[in-house]
C-alpha cells in the first residue's frame, strides 16, 4: 500500500502544480460568489439560486477535473516515457493505476472541499447580512460557520442540507473518475474524454433511458408487434452505464426540502461500481504494451 500511496501523492503533486487547476478553481469560486448577485435578477428566492449555482459549480467543476485531468494522467506517463523507470521499480502495474486513481480523487476532493467551504460561507454571509452586524464580524462569523459546518453537517439551519448533497456528489465523482481512468488505460486522451462524457451523460439519464425502454415495450405490447431494436439498445445502455441519477436526486431534495437523505444502498452501489470499474482498468492495463 505504501507504493500506491507514494504514486497517489505524486499524482496529487502533479495536479496541484498545474496552473490549469487554479484557473478552474478560481472560476468555480467566482461562480459560487456571484450567485447572490445573480439572484437579484430573478424572481426566485435568493436561497434557491445560491444553492442551485453552488451545487452546479461543485458538480460541474468536479466532473471537469475528473475528465480533463483524468484522461491525460496515464497518457502523459506513457507519452513522456516516465513510466519506463516506474515499471522497473518493485511495483505491480495495478498499483500504479490505483495510485493514479487515488491521486486524482484526492485532487478532486480537495477542490470539492475548497468549493464547499466557500459555498457554505456565501450562504452564511447572506444570512448574516440580514442581522446587520459590521462587515468584519459578518465575515469572520460566516467563515467560522462555514469551516465548522464542513464537518458538523447539522450545525447550522441554513446549511444543514448542503454537505449531504456534497457527499452524494463525491460518490458520483468517484465513479466518473474511475471511468476516466478506465478509458485512458487503453485509449488516447481525446477518445477517453469522449467516452467519459458519454458515460456521464448516459449515467445521469439512466432512469430516463429505462423509462424510454419501458415505453417502447408497452407500445409494442399494445400493438402486438415484436420488440424493436431500440428497446434492446436502451436496455443495454441502461444496464452498462452507472445510474448517476441516484446521487443527483439529493440535489433536488435539498432545493425543495430541508431534509436530505442518503441511502446506504446508494453508497454501497457507488463503492461496488467504482471497484468493478477499477478492477477492469487494472486488468486491461496489466496486459498492455507501453509505447
Amino acid at each position: 500500500m505504501n507504493q500506491v500511496r507514494a504514486i497517489a501523492v505524486n499524482t496529487f503533486k502533479e495536479a496541484v502544480r498545474n496552473r490549469v487547476l487554479y484557473v478552474v478553481l478560481i472560476f468555480s469560486l467566482i461562480l459560487i460568489g456571484a450567485s447572490g448577485v445573480l439572484s437579484e435578477l430573478t424572481v426566485a428566492s435568493r436561497d434557491k439560486i445560491v444553492k442551485d449555482l453552488g451545487f452546479a459549480a461543485i458538480n460541474f467543476f468536479g466532473v471537469a477535473i475528473a475528465i480533463f485531468v483524468g484522461v491525460t494522467l496515464v497518457y502523459n506517463e506513457l507519452e513522456k516515457r516516465t513510466i519506463y523507470t516506474l515499471v522497473s521499480k518493485p511495483i505491480h502495474r495495478w498499483q500504479f493505476l490505483l495510485g493514479k486513481y487515488f491521486g486524482l480523487l484526492m485532487t478532486i476532493y480537495v477542490n470539492v472541499v475548497v468549493m464547499s467551504v466557500f459555498f457554505l460561507f456565501v450562504i452564511h454571509w447572506y444570512a448574516a447580512m440580514e442581522a446587520e452586524r459590521g462587515v468584519f464580524t459578518t465575515f469572520f462569523l460566516s467563515a467560522a460557520k462555514a469551516l465548522v459546518g464542513l464537518l458538523w453537517w447539522d450545525g447550522f439551519p441554513p446549511t444543514r442540507n448542503i454537505m449531504p448533497v456534497v457527499a452524494a456528489t463525491a460518490i458520483e465523482l468517484a465513479i466518473v473518475t474511475a471511468f476516466s481512468i478506465l478509458y485512458s488505460a487503453f485509449s488516447t486522451p481525446t477518445l477517453s474524454m469522449f467516452f467519459t462524457v458519454l458515460t456521464f451523460i448516459a449515467g445521469r439519464l439512466n432512469e430516463d433511458i429505462v423509462l424510454f425502454a419501458e415505453n417502447v415495450r408497452d407500445t409494442a405490447l399494445e400493438t402486438g408487434t415484436p420488440l424493436p431494436l431500440s428497446y434492446y439498445l436502451a436496455q443495454g445502455a441502461a444496464h452498462v452505464t452507472p445510474n448517476l441519477g441516484v446521487f443527483h436526486q439529493s440535489v433536488e431534495q435539498a432545493l425543495y426540502a430541508d431534509e436530505v437523505t442518503i441511502w446506504w444502498q446508494s453508497i454501497l452501489y457507488g463503492l461496488i461500481y467504482t471497484s468493478a470499474i477499477l478492477l477492469l482498468s487494472m486488468l486491461i492495463f496489466s496486459r498492455r504494451n507501453f509505447k
Binding site: 507504493q3 507514494a6 516515457r81 516516465t82 519506463y84 523507470t85 515499471v87 521499480k89 518493485p90 511495483i91
Partner: protein
C-alpha cells in the same frame, strides 16, 4: 553464473488495427509488422560489464524494454537472476536507466529520488542517507532543490543514473547511458560503470558509441536488424585479426627503401628513423631480416589489431556505427 538469460526472444510489432496517425483515425485491415527482435539468445554473467551494441534499430532498446517488462515478447523467454520477468523480487535487485530519460518535471531533484525511494519501501532516514550519497556520486549535490524542468540533458542523465542505483542493485541495465553527453560526461559515466563492477555488480548497457564500449566492456553482443551477429569477449572477437604492423627501424639503404615502398601502406621518415605500416606478416619478417643484415636496427614493432569499430563495420556490413 548467468544473471540474465535470454532465449530465442522475438518481438514483432504490429501497428494497431485501429490507429491514430497524424491526428486521424485510421483503419488498417492488415496490421503492419516490424520484426524488432529475431530469436535473440544470449547470457550475461555475474560481475561483468556487458555491452549490447548495434546500429540504430538493431533491437537493443527492444531487448531492454522486454527485460524491464515495458513490452511483452512475441515469443521466446528471458530470466533475470534466475526468475521470470516481472518478478518483484527481481525488481528489488535491479536498476534501470532508459534511453534519453525524462522524469516528472514538476518535481525537484530530491523529491523525485525520494518518491522512487518510497517505491522501494525504504524508510525515511534510509532514503535521506542514500539520496545524499547518490547525488554526490553523480555530481548533482548543487541541483537537489532545483525542479527537474530546469535540468540539462546531462543532468537528466545523472539523476537517471542516481534513480537506477537507489536500491543498491546487483544488476544495472543502462540504455545508451552516454548518448548526448559531452566527452567529460561520458568519461564520468564510464568511470561510474567501472566502479559498479568493482563493487561486484553486473552492468548491462547498450550503446552505439563503440570507443566507450571498447574501453570498459568485458563481453559484448553485436545486434543488427534484430539478429545477434556476434557475442563474446572483446579479446576473442577481435584477436587473431591483426590488421597491420607498425615497424620503426633505421639503417636501411635509400635504394632498398625505395624498393620496399610499394609494399608499405605508409612510410614516414624522421631524423633517419623510418616508420612504416605493412599489411602482411611475411613482409615484416623479410624487412626485419634485411634491415639487420645491412647492419641496421629495428626499434619497435607494433601489431595493429582490429578495433571494435572495424569489426563492427565488417559484421554489420558497413553501415551504422
Amino acid at each position: 553464473m548467468a544473471v540474465v538469460e535470454v532465449e530465442k526472444l522475438t518481438k514483432i510489432y504490429v501497428r494497431d488495427f485501429l490507429d491514430v496517425e497524424h491526428g486521424r483515425l485510421k483503419l488498417r485491415l492488415a496490421g503492419r509488422k516490424t520484426v524488432a527482435l529475431d530469436h535473440l539468445t544470449m547470457q550475461v554473467q555475474q560481475g561483468e560489464i556487458f555491452g549490447l551494441l548495434g546500429p540504430n534499430g538493431a533491437g537493443k532498446t527492444t531487448t531492454l524494454k522486454i527485460l524491464m517488462g515495458i513490452h511483452f515478447p512475441t515469443a521466446g523467454r528471458a530470466r533475470i537472476l534466475g526468475r521470470p520477468l516481472g518478478d518483484l523480487h527481481v525488481k528489488r535487485r535491479i536498476g534501470f536507466l532508459p534511453e534519453n530519460p525524462y522524469f516528472y518535471d514538476y518535481l525537484r531533484g530530491w523529491e523525485f529520488l525520494d518518491f522512487y525511494g518510497q517505491l522501494y519501501g525504504m524508510a525515511r532516514a534510509a532514503r535521506r542517507k542514500k539520496i545524499e550519497e547518490l547525488l554526490t556520486r553523480v555530481g548533482l549535490e548543487h541541483a537537489a532543490n532545483l525542479p527537474l524542468r530546469g535540468y540539462s540533458k546531462g543532468m537528466n542523465q545523472r539523476i537517471g543514473l542516481a534513480q537506477s542505483l537507489l536500491n543498491d542493485p546487483d544488476l544495472v541495465f543502462l540504455d545508451e547511458p552516454q548518448s548526448g553527453l559531452d566527452p567529460l560526461g561520458r568519461k564520468d559515466i564510464r568511470d561510474l560503470i567501472i566502479s559498479l563492477r568493482a563493487q561486484g555488480k553486473t552492468v548491462l548497457f547498450s550503446s552505439h558509441i563503440l570507443q566507450d564500449a571498447e574501453l570498459i566492456c568485458d563481453r559484448v553482443a553485436i545486434l543488427d536488424k534484430g539478429q545477434l551477429k556476434a557475442i563474446g569477449h572483446l579479446a576473442e572477437l577481435l584477436s587473431g585479426t591483426v590488421r597491420s604492423w607498425e615497424i620503426v627501424f633505421r639503417g636501411l639503404s635509400a635504394e632498398r627503401i625505395e624498393a620496399w615502398r610499394p609494399r608499405m601502406r605508409n612510410l614516414v621518415e624522421s631524423k633517419g628513423d623510418y616508420l612504416a605500416i605493412l599489411e602482411e606478416k611475411g613482409g615484416v619478417d623479410e624487412l626485419i631480416r634485411e634491415t639487420l643484415a645491412q647492419g641496421g636496427e629495428v626499434i619497435s614493432l607494433t601489431p595493429h589489431r582490429q578495433t571494435l569499430e572495424e569489426y563492427f563495420v565488417s559484421e554489420v556490413g558497413g553501415k551504422g556505427a
